[in-house]
């Protein structure tokens, strides 16, 4: 299979997806379903290669038989799609994983946030650091007192935080627009350069 064929597939797929801009059509649908199917399969293959196989070959086959117990419990998760009578069995592996994640999170998660809060109060030396602190404080108040507080002080703090958050969303929006246009230019360069050879970069 040659790189040219790969380019042609890329071109047809790109044009197929762009055809959605005119209206929804079978050409677009075909490539949409193709990428969903391939991506799901790719996720499985990557997990198989990076986790399941190494665990089996380097773990269980080398004497770590205790892994068979969580493995057997994990199989119960597939009862999610069993007849209604047996569906509740899927809760056991889910409960175990939730328990693990909560225990892990309770142990590890608070520290990075405490460090961030401490960092906000450290080095208060210029106007910018005080503006930073005021906005940070306002946003935290905004989230903590989302409902049920009618105090004027809280209301004013929330308003200032809202203005700052709108600035944040504006910046995020601007960056997103530019990121997407950059991708669009990339696709156009692919069509005009790699395929048609009309544009040469560098």
């Amino acid at each position: 299979m040659t790189p040219e064929l790969q380019t042609w597939i890329g071109v047809i797929a790109t044009l197929g997806i762009f055809s959605f801009l005119i209206k929804e059509n079978p050409f677009y649908r075909f490539f949409e379903y193709t990428v969903i199917g391939l991506s799901a399969a790719h996720t499985v293959v990557m997990t198989w290669d990076n986790y399941t196989k190494p665990f089996w070959n380097n773990g269980i086959m080398k004497g770590e038989y205790y892994l068979l117990i969580p493995g057997a419990i994990a199989i119960l998760y597939y009862f999610r799609y069993a007849p209604a009578k047996y569906q509740w069995l899927y809760r056991y592996p889910l409960a175990l994983i939730m328990g693990y994640d909560i225990g892990y999170s309770l142990a590890y998660d608070p520290r990075p946030f405490m460090v961030q809060i401490r960092g906000t109060f450290e080095g208060l030396k210029d106007l910018n650091s005080f503006i930073y602190l005021a906005i940070f404080f306002g946003v935290v108040v905004y989230f903590i007192f989302t409902f049920g507080n009618k105090s004027k002080g809280v209301e004013k703090t929330r308003n200032i935080a809202r203005y700052a958050m709108m600035m944040y969303f504006g910046v995020a929006f601007g960056n997103t627009v530019q990121g997407r246009f950059s991708l669009l230019l990339g696709r156009l360069l692919f069509l005009l350069g790699d395929w048609l050879g009309l544009v040469k970069l560098g």
């Binding site: 797929a13 790109t14 997806i17 649908r29 193709t34 969903i36 199917g37 391939l38 799901a40 399969a41 790719h42 499985v44 293959v45 997990t47 198989w48 290669d49 986790y51 665990f55 892994l67 117990i69 969580p70 493995g71 994990a74 998760y77 597939y78 509740w88 809760r91 056991y92 592996p93 409960a95 175990l96 994983i97 939730m98 328990g99 994640d101 909560i102 225990g103 892990y104 309770l106 590890y108 998660d109 910018n128 930073y132 602190l133 906005i135 989230f143 935080a161 203005y163 958050m165 600035m167 944040y168 504006g170 910046v171 929006f173 601007g174 627009v177 997407r180 991708l183 990339g186 692919f190």
Partner: protein, 211 residues
């Protein structure tokens, strides 16, 4: 048995994992490392869940002869064929990579690129400065976009007062934007922490579903 036992399992497991991390060494050979391996292996065994769900949803569409049922057939065929092939030869196989490179990156990047057209029409609706909030959002978005392109530097050079458009953009990003980002992160953490405590104490049970 159906609901209470899973709640107890969650609480007991969370307590054991928490104590193991706090009390024992967190290297791979210690208890936390062993628990981590078990958790990873469980996730690895559950990896077919996504495919099982896709098969269920699209199998149902095929049975009912839905509008796009023929595409559902194609999706299932290509998904199973690619997965079986990939598991047999490995993800580093040349043919496997060739198929991946031919389809997935071009389609994915085109999908995301296409959003640019919809963002443009969305901008037209969003950028009507009727309130101070909307005006601030619009001003910041326009400022960031202009300052990232050469036109911005032509309008207000980065070598002039305040560092020009790029200088003001850097201030917006590093002071108010960064403070909001940190505030949102702390707010999210507090919300997540509260939810975790609710699940830990068995108050929150919605993840276990009905029945």
């Amino acid at each position: 048995m159906k609901r209470t036992v899973p709640v107890i399992i969650t609480t007991v497991t969370a307590t054991i994992v928490f104590l193991s991390i706090v009390l024992f060494k967190t290297d791979a050979a210690g208890w936390p490392g062993q628990f981590d391996r078990m958790r990873q292996f469980m996730a690895a065994v559950m990896m077919f869940m996504g495919m099982a769900n896709m098969t269920r949803v699209h199998g149902s569409a095929i049975r009912k002869r839905d509008r796009n049922w023929m595409f559902s057939v194609w999706l299932l065929v290509i998904m199973f064929a690619y997965a079986i092939f990939g598991m047999a030869v490995g993800n580093k196989n040349a043919t496997y990579r060739w198929i991946y490179d031919a389809f997935i990156p071009p389609i994915n990047s085109t999908m995301y690129a296409m959003v640019a057209f919809y963002l443009t029409s969305a901008s037209y609706k969003a950028f009507r400065a009727k309130t101070l909030d909307a005006a601030l959002m619009m001003a910041c978005a326009v400022w960031v976009m202009l300052s990232n392109v050469p036109v911005g530097d032509m309008l207000w050079s980065s070598e002039s007062w305040l560092g020009g458009m790029a200088g003001v953009r850097d201030w917006i990003v590093s002071v108010p934007n960064s403070a909001v980002s940190r505030g949102i992160a702390v707010g999210t953490f507090l919300g997540g922490f509260a939810t975790q405590l609710r699940v830990f104490l068995g108050i929150e049970r919605r993840h276990l579903g009905q029945g």
